[in-house]
Symmetry: C2
Subunit: 338 residues, 2 copies
């Protein structure tokens, strides 16, 4: 099967598992309002609901593919898949509060619609719900494996908060040391993808060493994705137009090309440290950044990390069909063009 065929198979099943997890846990009418906020955020209810509001469900798909690639039946991994998507969405609800983002997928965010108090609490409810859902896999899996899965996801959550801590801490700063950049994106992006891949491997029957290979696959994939995303945020078509919210340069985002240039200490670095970038500077500064080698460096990093991911995948995957689909997924990241 191709990646697309897997997706077509997985997506309705993921949605159903998510809905079971959410709706079965809150059947008392007095909690309708809490359920409503969760269902709204997940794109099922309210204004603008529908597939476009549901996100791409990348993490549960990755988990299911890894479980199939480990030689398991992906259906056995559906509850774990729902759990990781709940964790991802708990973190989005809290991120939106922390970043004061008022829209997501073109809709009001939970805090913008219901206020910060309900939004903080709704995120917490989804956090708890995620682990309840994961713990329910104990019906099909032995206790020590469920416990391992819980441990993996809990560690990913903790790394997520560590990455977020760095992100918030550096918000008012124009610089970030290289090592802290990697720790930040490692926590914010790679840790959960790595956890998804490892849990997929675990539930699919991979032994410890292969589980670790799945973990490395997910982690490298996450970093590669971030590097590519950072390049797109500066040299992508939309970014270069310099529309206020779409260029990472104007937003002062400390992305990999910028961190690289700051380390070089050249002309871009001097301009960056002097203060916010104006709209008319976006195109020339992107060109300067390219001239200083930041684009080559970033794309090379994305490529290197993708290679590392594919190498780990070779050690991890057993089922050739699902393995090929995962390979396709990894390579598609690099093809996301400018």
């Amino acid at each position: 099967m191709t990646l697309q065929e897997y997706s077509d198979l997985f997506l309705p099943a993921i949605e159903k598992a998510l809905q079971t997890a959410v709706f079965e846990s809150m059947d008392a009418p007095r909690f309708d309002g809490l359920r409503e906020m969760i269902a709204y955020h997940l794109g099922w209810e309210g204004e603008g609901s529908g597939p476009g509001a549901q996100g791409k469900r990348i993490r549960p798909q990755l988990l299911l593919l890894c479980s199939a690639a480990a030689g398991g039946d992906w259906r056995d991994a559906l509850q774990s898949a729902a759990a990781v998507e709940l964790i991802h969405n708990f973190s989005l609800i809290h991120d939106d509060i922390e970043d004061r983002s008022e829209t997501r997928h073109g809709r009001l965010t939970v805090w913008a619609k219901w206020g910060g108090a309900q939004a903080v609490n709704t995120g917490d409810a989804m956090f708890a719900l995620a682990f309840q859902t994961l713990a329910r896999t104990s019906v099909t899996l032995p206790a020590d494996q469920v416990l391992s899965a819980i441990n993996i996801l809990q560690n990913a959550c903790f790394e997520l908060t560590q990455g977020q801590f760095l992100d918030i801490s550096y918000e008012t700063s124009r610089t970030i040391p290289f090592a802290d950049y990697w720790a930040m994106v490692g926590g914010k992006t790679a840790a959960l993808l790595a956890g998804c891949a490892q849990i997929g491997g675990l539930v699919g029957g991979a032994e410890e060493a292969r589980q670790q290979a799945f973990y490395r696959f997910g982690y490298s994939l996450g970093l590669a994705f971030q590097a590519q995303d950072d390049a797109l945020g500066i040299w992508g078509d939309v970014a270069l137009l310099g529309k206020s919210t779409e260029s990472d340069l104007m937003n002062g985002k400390k992305t990999l090309p910028v961190v690289f240039a700051l380390e070089q200490g050249g002309e871009f670095s001097r301009r960056w440290l002097a203060g916010p970038i104006r709209q008319d500077e976006v195109a020339p500064l992107a060109e300067l950044l390219r001239h200083e080698g930041a684009e080559d460096y970033t794309l090379a990093e994305a490529k290197r990390l993708t290679q590392a991911a594919l190498q780990a995948l070779d050690q991890a995957a057993e089922n050739r069909g699902a393995g090929a689909a995962l390979r396709e997924l990894a390579q598609r990241l690099l093809r996301r063009g400018y």
Copy 2:
């Protein structure tokens, strides 16, 4: 041993287990700031730190006592005890954000000191840390028991968020239906105490039926505590003085006596529904509320719930010494005078 002697034994051990959980999880210097916020909130560091800033550690003490009462060695339950205290404190950090409370134990709250973004994230980090800590008990306990403990605590967390949802939802309302009042305090106060008691029983070696008795003990104890607290908030000495922040009547808090009187629909109810209570009305309205039977009702409920707790304890406890200390703890709640 008396309750006091148990406390003297437990408290330093709880503090040490908590510190191990927090400090061992974050040894990289880049996360010092995150560790600092947690250590500040737990009363170990920063302005005003010390025993007075640490809270009473009621939940871990309850857990340890129950584990001893179940016939176990309380030292084996120390990591679980640290985990429940971390959960309690995660919820306090988020509650303070949701209620916009600027001080706790006479010190600035985390959000008031570091801003809402860091505070939301620090609460999340403690949530994840709590389950990491609990999962570490797998060194001494079989996997299925650790999984049970995780399940119990996760359910308590979910109920906590459900209770909090009701609390926030009714914030702008002068009334709350009786059933929702009990669901709210059940979630906010009783669920975690019940979880502590049950995990203590589980770790102490109690079989399923006795674990359930421990759960009922903790749940009834929590509701009894809340009823007594609600009475104190209206007829307690400090409350009657009507100092702005200390009378539940002036704060518009929907406590058990008020919910009872609203159900009666008498004179108090009419005044309450008409709008906020002024300071000079506090004493006469407290007297009116008493006249309408709300004090008798509330104290009778506190007594009934304490009896239910003690009855459950009789079915649960095996070790007479620790059982007697738990009995002392329950009865002390009722003696908290006006």
